[in-house]
Symmetry: C2
Subunit: 344 residues, 2 copies
DNA sequence: TCGAGGTTTCGAAGCGCTTCGACGATGCGC
DNA sequence: GCGCATCGTCGAAGCGCTTCGAAACCTCGA
């Protein structure tokens, strides 16, 4: 509640000297600075936020736009909002949370009122209304996720295509010959979630390139049951599964396979790729290439802050390379020695 | 980007007239107001946030303090932050998200810089450092959750005691005679999570009052396995289970009981109480008295806004009555007709 | 000793808005 | 028709800070 004027008086200098001493934007004699700092410390001075904003044309606030779709995985998405907030703090920025309907309108509002210096757009759809809005706003914006039309945008995301290719190659190189992908529910794809489609396309392409038999299924409920059945219908010799799906489906996979008398990795290898949940607590943890909220948000917020502070930022797509975490759910299969299988 | 001066010029009135026309704080002739409104609309005028804050001594921002403990259920907690944000918007407030280490320090900062008009404190521990801080801050604050020392505080929470009593009574009244409570992990209790203890104490007290045999167990992992075993050790005739625990433990309960040859509700009735996850997708959905983020946050934010706008608010504890959602996991047991049980 | 050039500090002008006090206009009662 | 209360509007004073331009002060070489 102390004002800069009180600090100035206590230090025996002018207001502007205090301002420069604290901001470091002009050189101040060392002993003067020390006196100012001591006075500020003593009085517990913190600059009045709105006064600073008004005078400096900078709010030190970043808006985080997080719509919540019906089929959204709350935990996963809020992790992104939280990580963004943490990273923003390391740059001295606070975050304004814009959720739900307000994810769109709040962007307009916080940009127009200059409440926010920049915007982080989370949970991006292929055909996202916030893309057009961002273009019209004249407020630095970074997308975490890649929409269909990225013209003029700054986007950050895990390299899902590379993750899909790496998963396929890992299985192929360790001797797997029939690979299935359990993707997301079709509603999720229909809604336009972009990474899901990118992953799927890359998976198929890579399997074709490696000449390996493959199939793709979409869960229709919240378990892996139906998906596994359909996978075996398509590929009776299925020996590897790639998961790019939700936590509930993934967590039921082990039990589903067990019910068929199959076990991981003895009979079937499993890799989870581009997923934002941990499989550490599963009966059998899976090899994982995680969609890491921290990594994505760090990259995004760093870019955003750079755009705000540095003034401007060229449009670009930043793809983060996937990290492979080995948990032992993939083993080498020797050709000619098919795994022993109980009849289910 | 239009300023109030431009609106004033466009409408042919003074700046103050525009301000009063838009805020309604003084009477303005109808045709004048209409002209002002039209001009504002035309120019897409929105008041510059920091200028408004500075002049009006009000930021229209609420800080949401959300620490994230190691054993925190991310999804559950972020739901509270989100609901708070939604409710705040209905009052014209935006929310600043303070997470992690910054949950505490951010409170101090946003209050001292007058960035926030008020604070919502989430995920409250019994012995929460934010209690003392809130008392020292001179910034309206509402706690969602009840710490040990509530002196001078405004707190909102589900009435966990009442939920525990209602769960016990529901089971007792439908003929159950041996009731077990699966509580949270001991780490959670040790950490000081308050509602967990309140629930446990009320459960025991009510069982004693109703003269019904009872036992309490704490899961040690993330499944119900061990808990169920210990419950049956203590109560061989167990016929009712109350869950006040985490989603992973709850979701594994059905399978655990099935492995013993028991089914819900045929052999055992189950009620989940004071939990923030849905059991709708479980193999057998449970009767539930939810810890409803929306209800709690609505009450909390409403109180907070009232304190900000209305100026001041008397300390109080608001306990929200639990709602019983019947999903068929509790049935009536007739004395003398013990349920048929397979040997496991 | 004087002045150029550099360093340090200060004063004042905003930033865009809210709000107080005041002023002119209007309506009313007598 | 005059005085007074009421209504509608305006001007101006801030809110607390940043930042520009300039003043004040130093240092040093000529």
């Amino acid at each position: 509640m102390a004002t800069i004027a009180e600090v100035a008086q206590a230090a025996g200098v002018s207001i502007s000297t205090v301002s420069y001493a604290l901001s470091g934007k002009r050189s101040i004699r060392t002993d003067t600075r020390d006196r100012v700092l001591a006075a500020a410390q003593e009085l517990g001075y913190l600059p009045h936020a709105s006064a600073r904003m008004l005078a400096a044309h900078r709010s030190h606030i970043i808006a985080v736009s997080e719509p919540v779709h019906a089929d959204t995985d709350d935990a996963a998405h809020m992790a992104f909002a939280m990580e963004s907030t943490k990273v923003a703090r390391t740059h001295g920025y606070d975050t304004l949370l814009l959720v739900d309907d307000d994810a769109l309108d709040g962007m307009r509002r916080s940009a127009a009122t200059q409440l926010a210096d920049g915007i982080v757009v989370l949970d991006v759809d292929e055909d996202d209304a916030r893309v057009a809005l961002a273009r019209s706003l004249d407020c630095p914006t970074v997308f975490v996720g890649i929409p269909a039309d990225t013209e003029g945008l700054v986007c950050v995301d895990l390299d899902f295509e590379e993750a899909a290719r790496a998963a396929v190659d890992r299985l192929v190189q360790s001797g797997h010959r029939e690979i299935g992908l359990i993707s997301h529910r079709v509603e999720t794809l229909d809604r336009g979630s972009n990474f899901t489609r990118r992953f799927l396309r890359a998976f198929v392409a890579q399997c074709e390139r490696r000449h390996v038999r493959h199939a793709v299924v979409h869960p229709n409920g919240h378990t892996a049951q139906g998906s596994v059945n359909r996978l075996f219908d398509a590929l009776p010799g299925l020996d590897g599964i790639v998961l790019n799906t939700t936590a509930d489906v993934a967590s039921s996979l082990s039990a589903t396979l067990t019910a068929r008398g199959l076990s991981i990795p003895r009979d079937i290898s499993v890799i989870a790729a581009g997923v934002s949940f941990s499989t550490a607590r599963f009966a059998v943890p899976f090899d994982t290439m995680p969609l890491d909220a921290r990594a994505s948000c760090t990259a995004a917020v760093d870019l955003l802050v750079q755009a705000i502070d540095g003034g401007g930022l060229d449009p670009r797509i930043v793809l983060l390379p996937p990290t492979y975490i080995d948990q032992g759910s993939v083993v080498t299969r020797t050709p000619g020695y098919p795994p022993l299988r109980r009849v289910s």
